[in-house]
Symmetry: C2
Subunit: 346 residues, 2 copies
């Protein structure tokens, strides 16, 4: 049994018997759903509910290192796509898992990663129903890359899906917790940077938090998870989609002291650092308190805060869309990240 | 505008403004659907029909070289997932496209690949509705890897989906055309092997062919596209799923002369060579002629043939599942590919 060998070989991607063994003894073992075990080329899924509307999202994860404080690429790969589906207001139900494995990857690492995927999927209540395995030669990858794509179902009462275009002047901007934990956890363990910190990645499935907010504040306009590019990119995207402007209060935004210290040291703007377990919600003022309470009552939202407000666009739309009121009382423009801050953060 | 530079930079995967430019000026330009242009994290889709059943499949493509005779990784990435969905009997409707780009990839190549994706998607009648872009540093990838995941809708009259488990003794085995073209096209252009051949990859979307067969032969048990591992792996998988045995006739199987010559030269078994535009159909005998005629009347099925038959399993199920009657009249076992024949074929 090749699976007893200690590392991935090119033949594990052959489409032949060794790939079959890898699938049955490792992937099925970790997260074999009924659909996956059926062994067909496509999973057949029965949609509950009657809206007939789906949400569909995809993400490939290339994070390095693939195990980091607070998680690994497997947890990230499940949470990332679950959260993207949740932003639409859909209930994430089914996930695909497609691997690009580098020849020589230790099988113990792959097992560990698949166990993380299974655990995160269980927590989110999503099933891995279809998959793919490719192997590339040494030097043509970097350990493991994982694509997850996900499908969710939209309830009847929000069958159009939530979109960033929904934001309106006067809306409040909520953030579900501290900024910068994922990015700083990754930096802290990259081999050429040694920090003695206890910062852990915040990678987490937020679909239950989103559902709680939507129950408490059904008029919520939209959600966005501030991953690559951080809060700055997310707010700029939302403002551009909805032709609005946004202002946030620096003092209102929770940031761990160690994260602040790492950002100061490296010259990072914490608003541009990646998060993997945080959600921005845009909520009309009448329901903002209810939404905030729902966030704070959720597993990953205890430090949620009201961080800013949406404004009507003034004059031309060439100006900056998002600004920060600093702790000194001044106001500065919050641009999208330009260039690259930290490659392979997710 | 960074997109006017001539190659992919790490910053194109940053989540910031350069990634946004790449998305808008290259991906939107090539295949911007309404859903994609909406710019949310998940696409919202409206399912036609009422069966409420979906098919969902995923594949990552790592083929090298990424442009080859008869196609490129873009065409392959669309056709591969379209065909996997089609095997279930579903109508493929929506596709995701997620890229892992190596720093330094020429943008002209990426544009060319995206144009191929758009063309193949148009031909298949599927829309690219959501996507993702990651960039890895030089030496951590190999030009471009593409994941496509797809969702299709099952018509009411085959809402359970077709599965390999459906094959029954007496069923006929049909093949939609010549074997080995894709694998041999790739071999012929790998830099260390120089052949003067005109063999081209058969990469093609086969959903229209599958639909034609199902209209002509609605009792068709299942389909399988013999990609990695070739016909040998596909038939062994189907036999194992359905607890049957299968025998095929070597003489009945169409193979181009040049493909046969390459296989002889390199010691490949043509039954184990990858195809990317061929479909196996298992059909009850009463509808086999109709199914074959439908294949032959389809764009990619003019050389379709009846190639074998399904038998009841005899005695124990430890023996070989698939055998070939050779042109000499003898019979040999057709095993799944063991080990690796040709890495990164798709």
């Amino acid at each position: 049994m090749t699976i007893n060998d200690d590392m991935i070989l090119l033949a594990h991607g052959s489409g032949g018997s060794m790939m079959r063994e890898l699938i049955e003894e490792l992937f099925y073992e970790a997260y074999g759903s009924d659909e996956l075990l059926r062994g067909d080329d496509a999973a057949v899924l029965e949609t509950p509910g009657s809206s007939g509307r789906l949400a569909f999202s995809t993400d490939t994860f290339v994070v390095t290192p693939y195990v980091f404080p607070g998680g690994d690429i497997g947890r990230l790969a499940v949470c990332g796509t679950v959260n993207d589906i949740a932003t639409s207001g859909a209930i994430p139900l089914w996930l695909s898992a497609a691997f690009v494995l580098e020849e020589g990857l230790p099988l113990t690492d792959l097992r560990h990663i698949c166990a993380s995927m299974a655990e995160a999927a269980h927590e989110a209540g999503i099933r891995i129903v279809t998959g793919d395995t490719k192997v590339v030669a040494r030097g043509q990858g970097d350990g493991i890359y994982i694509n997850t794509s996900g499908v969710g179902v939209l309830p009847d009462d929000r069958s159009d899906g939530l979109t960033g275009a929904n934001c309106q002047p006067g809306d409040h901007i909520l953030l579900s917790g501290t900024l910068g934990d994922h990015g700083c956890a990754i930096v802290s363990c990259r081999e050429n940077l040694h920090f003695s910190t206890t910062i852990e990645s915040d990678a987490a499935p937020l679909n239950h938090l989103v559902a709680a907010v939507l129950t408490a504040a059904p008029a919520t306009r939209c959600f966005r998870d501030p991953t690559r590019g951080g809060l700055a990119s997310s707010l700029n995207e939302l403002a551009a989609q909805s032709h609005t402007m946004m202002t946030i209060d620096e003092e209102a935004i929770p940031v761990h002291d160690q994260v602040r210290a790492i950002c100061d040291l490296l010259g990072f703007d914490v608003f541009q650092v990646a998060n993997e377990g945080k959600m921005v919600a845009i909520v009309p003022p009448a329901q903002a308190d209810a939404a905030l309470a729902a966030m704070r009552g959720s597993q990953y939202g205890s430090e949620a805060a009201l961080i800013g407000e949406v404004f009507a666009m003034s004059g031309t739309d060439d100006g900056p869309l998002v600004s920060v009121r600093t702790s000194l009382g001044s106001e500065r423009v919050l641009d999208m990240l330009t260039g690259e801050q930290l490659p392979r953060i997710c």
